[in-house]
């Protein structure tokens, strides 16, 4: 249905990906860059939302690894005549979650639009997107100095201003069976990707270096993965178009860059090209370019004159996306505490280096539920061997890795000296991999070679010490000659095979034996 209040059309702005953002960026780009070359970078990033089904139909977004091309399709994502879209509510919820976390003002009546252009990957030859009434306007993301290599002096945090955020559908996947666009003899289309839900986030042209751009993307990715807005493990979850200009030159767009490293390299190579043009006295023209990883250069795709007019109209098959205050509040309430807040809060209880790991690896609730009083110690073990064991065994949820009760028992045993740290590291691995309690693991140890000397079987211990001394005469000789490190070597050899004894005990046993000989 048509809408009464429509904006008066701004005079023909050239139609790159989001014309509305173009007119906003124009204003912001008037703002001086304090970079010596007047360098300005802006990013338009598309992320795939972590839903089970596509944006406008019920096809699966998570096909099996061996799924055939064009097996997750239906009349709607194939654009068959007569098919119609219906909006995925989960995609909206995730979009609102992201908008909230990024500080966007949420439009409670955003509108879908048709962006019409002819390309084989677009099943209807129009994309359903949002144009002049997007879901979110004016957000920001703070990127820490340590990873931003921030150009401005004295700054510890770069605030990246965000222009807009909106929801749109993905086109199909183009596959070049032999090589690439330039040399493949034919092109294949896989509509499994057609209709996947995307979130587009656009920055102001406020980034001042390729490194800053990369750091922004890494932080954005981390935040969206933390919130569950994107599936961090999925392939090709994030792709960006980068816009770059220097003083006196027009803006150049580099399209469809997938990895963070490639974004940095693409921007560096384009920055270099633009400086060269200026040096040669040539004008830097408004263009769309592609980055080639092989040649580490950007290649011309379209000139300004070849830019398409997308002829946006309101999408008449979808009503306005009306969000009630109750809905937005529910999303707010059910969103995890934002990382910056959680990290700040943790600084008072655990050493600083553990806070980001605990937050981003989803270990904070586990830490808070643990009854073990020494929180720094809890943090150290969680962020170290516990996390390693989780990753090694492909476990996402710490509770699935080890019940908190067992974890607390383990830390208590370490603290009281019942087991030493070296052993604990191995026990964690076993408890997680084999889902065993601490008592079960200790019981197993006792029945093996690693019996505690006090339990009665010193024979196995003696035999092992003998073997190691016999196998390593050089180390024994060096120790006798006054090299303490060689003793540690022998102790290490022992502990590799046998853990229950404390290293100090083992050292004493070796000393005694060597002195005896």
């Amino acid at each position: 249905m048509p809408f009464e209040k429509t904006k008066t059309e701004s005079s023909a702005t050239s139609a790159t990906s989001t014309t509305a953002s173009t007119s906003v960026q124009k204003d912001a780009s008037m703002e001086r860059s304090n970079h010596p070359d007047g360098l300005k970078i802006g990013l338009e990033t598309h992320v795939t939302l972590n839903t089970m089904t596509k944006l406008f139909c019920g096809c699966s977004t998570k096909p099996a690894a061996d799924a055939l091309p064009n097996s997750q399709t239906c009349p709607t994502c194939l654009g068959l005549p007569g098919s119609k879209p219906r909006l995925n509510a989960k995609a909206v919820e995730l979009g609102v979650r992201a908008a909230e976390a990024l500080g966007f003002a949420i439009n409670p009546n955003s509108i879908f639009a048709r962006k019409t252009y002819y390309y084989p990957d677009l099943s209807k030859n129009y994309q359903i997107t949002q144009y002049d009434q997007p879901l979110g306007l004016k957000g920001c993301l703070k990127v820490a100095a340590a990873n931003a290599k921030i150009e401005s002096e004295g700054a510890t945090v770069k605030t990246v201003d965000l222009t807009r955020l909106h929801i749109e559908e993905d086109p199909a996947q183009i596959v070049y069976p032999h090589g690439n666009m330039a040399n493949s003899t034919y092109t294949l289309l896989d509509y499994n990707r057609s209709g996947m839900p995307l979130l587009e986030i656009v920055t102001e042209p406020c980034l001042r270096s390729p490194a800053e751009a990369k750091a922004y993307l890494e932080e954005l990715f981390r935040l969206l993965a933390y919130l569950g807005v994107i599936d961090a493990k999925a392939e090709r979850v994030m792709k960006s178009d980068a816009n770059i200009s220097i003083a006196g030159g027009e803006r150049v767009e580099i399209k469809n860059i997938t990895s963070f490293a490639a974004v940095e390299k693409a921007l560096q190579s384009e920055f270099f090209r633009q400086k060269k043009m200026r040096q040669l006295g040539k004008p830097i023209e408004r263009q769309t370019r592609l980055y080639s990883e092989e040649t580490d250069t950007t290649l011309l795709m379209r000139t300004k004159e070849q830019e398409e007019d997308y002829g946006y109209i309101v999408e008449p098959d979808l009503p306005p996306l009306t969000l009630t205050t109750a809905f937005i509040d529910t999303v707010r309430r059910t969103t995890k505490e934002l990382p910056t807040a959680a990290i700040a809060r943790l600084q008072t209880t655990v050493p600083a280096q553990y806070a980001p790991v605990l937050v981003y690896q989803n270990l904070l609730p586990y830490l808070e539920s643990s009854t073990f009083a020494d929180k720094p110690m809890v943090a150290k073990w969680l962020c170290g061997d516990f996390l390693k064991a989780m990753n090694y065994n492909g476990i996402d949820d710490p509770l699935a890795a080890m019940p908190i009760r067992e974890f607390d028992a383990l830390l208590t045993a370490i603290q009281t000296g019942k087991i030493h740290e070296r052993a604990a590291k191995e026990y964690i691995k076993k408890m997680v991999a084999e889902h065993k309690t601490l008592d079960a693991v200790l019981a197993e140890e006792r029945t093996g070679a690693g019996r505690h000397a006090q339990d009665g079987n010193a024979d196995a211990t003696d035999a092992l010490i003998t073997k190691i001394i016999t196998d390593n005469p050089k180390a024994v000789a060096e120790y006798r000659a006054g090299k303490p490190k060689s003793l540690e070597f022998l102790v290490g050899q022992f502990l590799r095979q046998h853990l229950v004894l404390h290293p100090n005990e083992v050292r004493e046993l070796f000393k005694k034996r060597i002195e005896k000989q």
């Binding site: 009349p75 005549p81 909006l87 099943s123």
Partner: protein, 447 residues
Amino acid sequence: MNATLTLSGALEKARQAETRLNCMAYIAENTSATTGQKKNNTAKTGPLSGVFLGVKDNLCVAGMPASAGSQILQGYVPPFNATAIERLQQQGATIVGKTVMDEFGFGTFNVNTQKIPKNPHDPTRATGGSSGGCGAFTAATGMPSIAESTGGSISAPAAFCGVVGVTPTYGKVSRYGLIDYANSLDKIGTVATTVKEAFDLLDVMAGPDSKDSTCLKPFPEKKATHKAAIVTELFEKADAGVRQKTMNAVDNLKQAGVQVDTVSFHHIESALFAYYIIAMAEASTNLAKYVGLRYGEQPAAEENETYTEFFTRVRGSFGPEAKRRILLGSFARTAGYRGKYYDKACRVRTLVIDEWKGALEKYDVLLTPSMPCIAPKFSEIEKLKPLQHYAMDACTVSPNLAGLPHASIPVNTSENMPVGLQVIGGHFQEKLVRRYSEMVEAAVSKT
């Protein structure tokens, strides 16, 4: 409904209509496609058992070809059913074939296509469009048909062919499976020989459908005011013969005890232009998908032909009116012109809606002629320019633009050709439209 009609009888009637009037795009041959039978081969039975239907060729019936009157969709057989069709088949109805139409719905006389149907009352005259095949089929065979209206494409053929045509409120019937002309304007409706049949069939199709986001739950029924009104400007648009016959029908209503006032509207002219701009803009996006890939006409690529060259060549198969509307519609939404045309047309649309809604607070229904003239001869149509074609929609565009339910009821003939009176009601007030339509029908049968 002719309860004694068998499937073979119905198919035979369809074939005869086709021979005489050139109105069928496809006639079913076997039963499984016609009844939507399940794999275990049992036909669905229900209240519509024994009801045989024609279906306009822009509605998807799984297993039957759907070309929407266009060369570019030749050979397309949809793999899914339109919801409206599904519902009819669930109740036991049988589809005997697909009826011809103006290409994608672009037309008022059903001449904008390769297969042009003839008026059953005079084969030298047009049927009206774009549901012209439905008008001819129903008038010739007596079987109802499922039609579609964007700017008047049910009222026009109903009026010209002398049958009842009902266009429901926008959003009452799911558009899932309707090949789009203009998504904010398209409505699936019915053509039948009686008011009862037309509305009964509509009720079967109507109702919310999760597959169509614009398909709504009906609004509550309004309290009747027991008053109707004629729209002055639209009677003035009609030629003398049509005006006389439709005013007679209005008089009959008055004699039957209905109070009929007069209203005057200010946005009649601009409604026509707003309609065409919006319809063409939307149509130009809906038709973008036809590029010779995946369905319909798929010619082999020529040597060294680029993708752009290929689809440009394929799209040459569109008829001249389709090309005209794609060009104008694309223009109206380009940056720099969108504000002047598309955005402005949307604002005018709101003015039209408000004006008609205002009147329909006071009156149960508004009355107009359906068309300003009787069905023209093909030879007369050839002399018309496009804008003159468009001007023929004067009486139908406003209710269509506003999404108001309306019915065209045949009243007495002029120059031996049918004339239709249009009865227009408020949003989701089909009950009132039906009541007044029945009164008009009753009054006509008495004379």
